[in-house]
């Protein structure tokens, strides 16, 4: 399976002469930084999904919004595709360049324009790093809630494009719940304000539509986020289990007890070992699974909740429960989880990170399915799980240098996602579809649903010049990709040729 753009399956792209495009852009935008030599383009050939690399035709690094506007207008006129990129940390290839396209890099827009502690909002440019917002808000006792693990590097424009999550989503929501307003520039070079500084805006909720739209509808040029008061107190309980299923059940029991933890994370044996070897977080190596449960809020409530959760965990059969004694130990417990990906990365030359979501009750069944796939393929799989909100991150370990292993890892990954869809879940909880899961979209959605997505796209970008080939597959691709969505036992679109 190759996920690079395939004109036969993803639609024809306009053929433009690189030299002509370069000259036209240089003429229209003499002050714009435009990279065109191979050695300058090389650093931009991939995003966080580094297994796939494509040299863009050109890279544009604008400094002003006027340049972005003019760039979009010119590309629209010439019919040149545009792929937008922020910090390039995305894990689904959403910013994978196109050979025939311009890569628009927004990283120079990195100013925090305003922090208003009384209104509890921050207005920032799209290249501002996620963590930098919380750092700027900290002197006022405020923070920005969504905290993807890449938060030291990822930028807010990309967070909006992907509807980024993190480990505190169950209680504090995703990006879509924490953004008030965005400024965008459309492919036609038109500026638009979506949302407002108030809690709502007249008309359609375009803010919800744009959040998570993966750069397919417009370019985000400014973001106003909500800030929350920092919780007065946070405590973390770590519980070990001799059985993964018991840990999974404990998650449901905590929520059934009426507690919504700030964070509720689960790791299996392989992930525990990797994290422990890497950061020495103090995890129990003999456990089959651990749960990390963070309770935050006003101190007295946190203490009450800690007692309740401890009781629930004991009842669920935890073999050991420890409470982080101080902030240092709490940080250490979290360090293991937040570094789980690089930790697992030390166990094999490569890993492939999945992002499926499932109803929590399906956890035991899905974990068994993953174990079976791992055994069958011979590739180890470590499981890291945002247990509270049902978001799994199975990490498939492999070695690209061994012939066929990348393909095998992708096959295992694809089957894991199909397992998630079958369990009533989704192929992606927070990493996005991008290019990586383009085929699995055909498993999750029927052709009629995909047709509606194309209609939405057409309303904003009729000529499909913005990030073509990402997020929404063509019906041709779905017809060719084996796993058709069979609805009511009827094969959809019987008129399309199948090979």
């Amino acid at each position: 399976m190759n996920i690079l753009y395939d004109e036969r399956l993803d639609g024809e792209l306009p053929a433009n002469d690189k030299q002509q495009v370069l000259e036209r852009l240089q003429h229209a935008l003499p002050s714009l930084t435009l990279l065109h030599r191979e050695e300058d383009l090389r650093p931009f050939e991939c995003d966080g999904l580094s297994a796939y690399r494509v040299l863009p035709m050109l890279v544009a690094l604008p400094d002003t919004l006027e340049q972005v506007e003019q760039l979009m207008r010119t590309c629209h006129d010439m019919g040149v595709p545009v792929v937008t990129r922020g910090a390039g940390t995305g894990l689904s290839g959403g910013a994978l360049p196109l050979e025939q396209g311009v890569l628009l890099v927004m990283s120079r827009f990195k100013q925090i324009l305003e922090v208003d502690p009384d209104a509890r909002v921050a207005r920032v440019q799209p290249g501002v790093r996620n963590l930098a917002i919380s750092e700027a808000a900290a002197p006022y006792g405020l923070y920005y809630a969504p905290d993807p693990s890449s938060q030291i590097a990822c930028s807010i424009g990309g967070n909006v494009a992907e509807n980024a999550g993190g480990v505190h989503c169950l209680k504090y929501g995703l990006t879509v719940h924490n953004v008030l307003k965005i400024e965008v520039i459309t492919i036609e070079g038109e500026r638009m304000t979506i949302g407002s500084d108030a809690f709502d805006s007249p008309g359609f909720d375009l803010l919800a539509l744009f959040t998570g739209s993966e750069g397919m509808l417009g370019v985000v040029t400014e973001v106003t986020v909500k800030l929350l008061p920092q919780p007065e107190n946070a405590k973390v309980l770590m519980a070990s289990f001799d059985d993964v299923e018991k840990a999974g059940k404990a998650v449901g029991d905590i929520i059934a007890a009426g507690i919504i933890p700030g964070g509720l994370e689960m790791m299996d044996k392989l992930a525990i070992k990797a994290a422990e070897d890497f950061v020495h977080a103090g995890y129990p190596m003999e456990a089959e699974a651990i749960l990390l449960c963070e309770l935050d809020g006003v101190e007295a409530d946190v203490d009450d909740d800690c007692d309740t959760v401890r009781g629930v965990l004991e009842g669920a059969g935890a073999i050991d429960i420890s409470l982080a004694r101080d902030d240092a130990e709490r940080a250490r417990f979290w360090a293991g989880r937040k570094n789980a990906f690089p930790a697992v990365g030390r166990m094999a030359p490569d890993y492939y990170c999945m992002d499926g979501t499932i109803p929590r009750r399906e956890l035991p069944r899905v974990l068994k399915g993953i174990a079976a796939l791992s055994e069958e393929s011979g590739l180890p799989v470590a499981n890291v799980f945002h247990a509270g909100d049902g978001n799994m991150h199975p990490l498939v370990l492999f070695d690209t240098n061994k012939p066929g292993e990348l393909e095998l890892a992708e096959e295992v990954g694809g089957k894991i996602l199909e397992l998630c869809v079958e369990a009533g879940g989704s192929i992606t909880g927070e990493h996005g579809v991008g290019r990586e899961k383009i085929n699995q979209m055909c498993t999750q959605f029927q052709p009629d649903e995909i047709t509606v997505f194309h209609a939405v796209k057409a309303a904003f970008d009729e000529r499909r010049l913005l990030n073509p080939g990402k997020n929404i597959p063509t019906l041709q691709r779905c017809a060719e990709f084996g796993a058709m969505h069979v609805h009511n036992n009827e094969l959809p679109h019987p008129d399309l040729p199948r090979f």
Binding site: G173, D200, A256, G429, G432
Partner: protein
């Protein structure tokens, strides 16, 4: 009394297909409690009332899926039985209010600034397209970023983009403690205090100012509610106040007042606007000042200009208003028209309800 579950999706699909074929506009009606909220629609009435029932409720997963014709009161009763609730506290405006109308109008109650709005709790939906196809977007999981978020787009779209038949919502447990209180103080002090408290992790979940007093609701664990109650003092307020505010049953909202009723939505921490000080104007502050109910004789245009300057928008709640919703910026309006044209090319879904052109 809860009615029998009923799945009328097939019949609704057929009805929509026919309307699309004949290019006959449909006026979508649930409990007909929020007809005042929006422009008048001319079309054949399509009722969602017979498509009702809770199709799936899993309290441990914190999700519920419910058909559009279900009464909000039925939905709330089912949640209540499990110690859960809809955190966004939707107004009913009548006993017959349905879930479809709740999503379509996108209205939220006093808890909104702290808990989130209707759309924040939408996880998935089933929608009948103009071609009469019954499709599914989103789902019953907390996190799902596959494809565009059409489910949340439906919230507040007033049925102009498709026929919503079912919605999946995130629900939350009720807090273990609640206390409402009333503090007599001038408006300026109230707004100042709210800004200060907003930066602190206090368990405030409603804040309204009217008649010389700040009304607050505290919700959370018993310890934090008790501690905050002690810190803030004030007189005990009946929790029913919040229901009356949500349902517009306070005397302020009485029909006997002939001045139009406006809803202003403003940024947090917006001071009193000049128009609020006029002698022909009365104001009730909700959402900590971010939502203001205004009775005034000032003309709509001047009011909207003032509100827009402050970064907000104004909606006219008086039935029969010709333009209840604030006009959109030209570029935004253009994409509204385009979305409408691609999703409802024959203009059959509630045409003109939101704006003349959508």
């Amino acid at each position: 009394m809860a009615r029998q579950h009923q799945d009328m999706a097939e019949a609704l699909c057929e009805r929509v297909r026919q309307a699309d074929h004949d290019k006959t506009p449909l006026k979508i009606v649930g409990g007909d409690t929020k007809a005042f909220y929006g422009r008048r629609v001319e079309g054949d009435i399509l009722s969602t009332r017979d498509h009702h029932g809770i199709s799936h409720y899993d309290p441990v997963e914190l999700i519920i899926s419910v058909r559009a014709g279900t009464l909000i009161s039925e939905l709330e009763a089912a949640l209540d039985a499990e110690g859960q609730r809809l955190p966004f506290e939707p107004p009913h405006f009548g006993e017959s209010a349905t879930v479809g109308g709740m999503i379509a109008t996108g209205l939220s109650g006093p808890r909104r600034p702290w808990a989130g709005s209707v759309r924040d709790f939408v996880l998935g939906s089933r929608i009948i397209t103009h071609e009469g196809k019954h499709l599914r977007f989103g789902g019953e999981v907390m996190k799902n970023v596959a494809g565009y978020d059409l489910s949340r787009l439906m919230a507040g779209a007033q049925g102009t983009l498709g026929l919503l038949t079912e919605v999946s919502l995130k629900v939350l447990p009720k807090p273990t403690a609640t206390h409402s209180l009333r503090l007599a103080m001038p408006l300026a002090s109230a707004l100042e205090s709210l800004a200060e408290w907003g930066r602190q992790p206090l368990p405030i979940t409603a804040a309204a100012y009217h008649d010389g007093a700040l009304h607050l609701r505290l919700e959370g664990g018993p310890s934090s509610v008790a501690a905050t109650r002690e810190r803030l003092g004030g007189d005990v307020l009946d929790d029913e106040f919040w229901t009356q505010l949500r349902e517009h049953q306070l005397p302020f909202f009485a029909d006997t007042d002939e001045r139009p009723l406006w809803r202003l939505s403003l940024p947090n921490n917006t001071p009193a606007l000049e128009l609020e000080t006029r002698s022909d104007t009365d104001v009730l502050y909700d959402w900590g000042g971010a939502q203001r109910w205004v009775r005034t004789s000032i003309d709509g245009r001047s009011l909207r200009d003032a509100v827009a300057t402050a970064g907000g928008h104004a909606t006219c709640y008086t039935p029969g208003a010709s333009d209840p919703f604030m006009p959109l910026a030209p570029s935004v309006a253009k994409y509204h028209r385009r979305l409408k044209a691609t999703l409802d090319p024959n203009g059959i879904f509630n045409p003109g309800r939101l704006y003349a052109e959508v």
